[in-house]
């Protein structure tokens, strides 16, 4: 039963990634694209976690944690650049 749930999870997260890519290409303002990039990072974390459940190994959670930290810091850097013109002053 878990295999069916994992299949549904993989399909849903992949479709969500495609939708984020559409918003990244289309979004009229800069912040739409920043939001799309941040959401793509979150969906990639979800994809890595699903793969770790499928392979029944716990070594992928470290990469998920690293991606979460990098995604947050990159979003903050984008927003600071749009606000200030400089990331670290």
């Amino acid at each position: 039963m878990i295999n069916y749930a994992l299949a549904i999870g993989f399909v849903a997260v992949s479709l969500a990634l495609l939708m984020n890519l559409w918003r990244l290409a289309t979004g009229p303002t800069v912040m739409d694209r920043v939001l799309a990039v941040d959401t793509m990072v979150i969906n990639t974390i979800a994809l890595i976690i699903l793969y770790g459940i499928r392979e029944s190994t716990a070594i992928y959670f470290e990469s998920a944690l690293l991606m979460a930290m990098f995604g947050f810091i990159s979003t903050v850097a984008y927003c600071r650049f749009v606000l200030r013109g400089d990331v670290i002053e």
Partner: protein, 135 residues
Amino acid sequence: MNIYIEALIAFNIIMGALFIFVGSYGMIKLPELMSRLHGPSKATTLGVGGFLVGSMIHFGATEGRISIQEILITFFLFITAPVTAHFIAKAYMHAELKPENLPKPEGRYGWNTYASVEDVKLASRDQATGSDLQS
């Protein structure tokens, strides 16, 4: 594995997948950025949280240990999701919206993000002129 534990893991994974899909769908369908911020916030916390709860139960059932890494990821995402949303909203407001078009807040002061440094200093001394208020 027990059938009920498998059902619980499957339920958590499907709930997480549903939240992630609906979050991204809301991001492409809603008209403006301020509305579009709602979806990814739910996808971040509840979607990935659902996957992580399923993963905790899965590794607790197969290997018989309680793992802390999933709780760390969930905790980190819970803390950083509001910060991200607020920062994106603030950058959007300063780039696109003008304070004249926004609704007026009650009281003497206007929107805090549009206040200049002199207004903040005067407000702390209770001498605010309200010059940042739209006329």
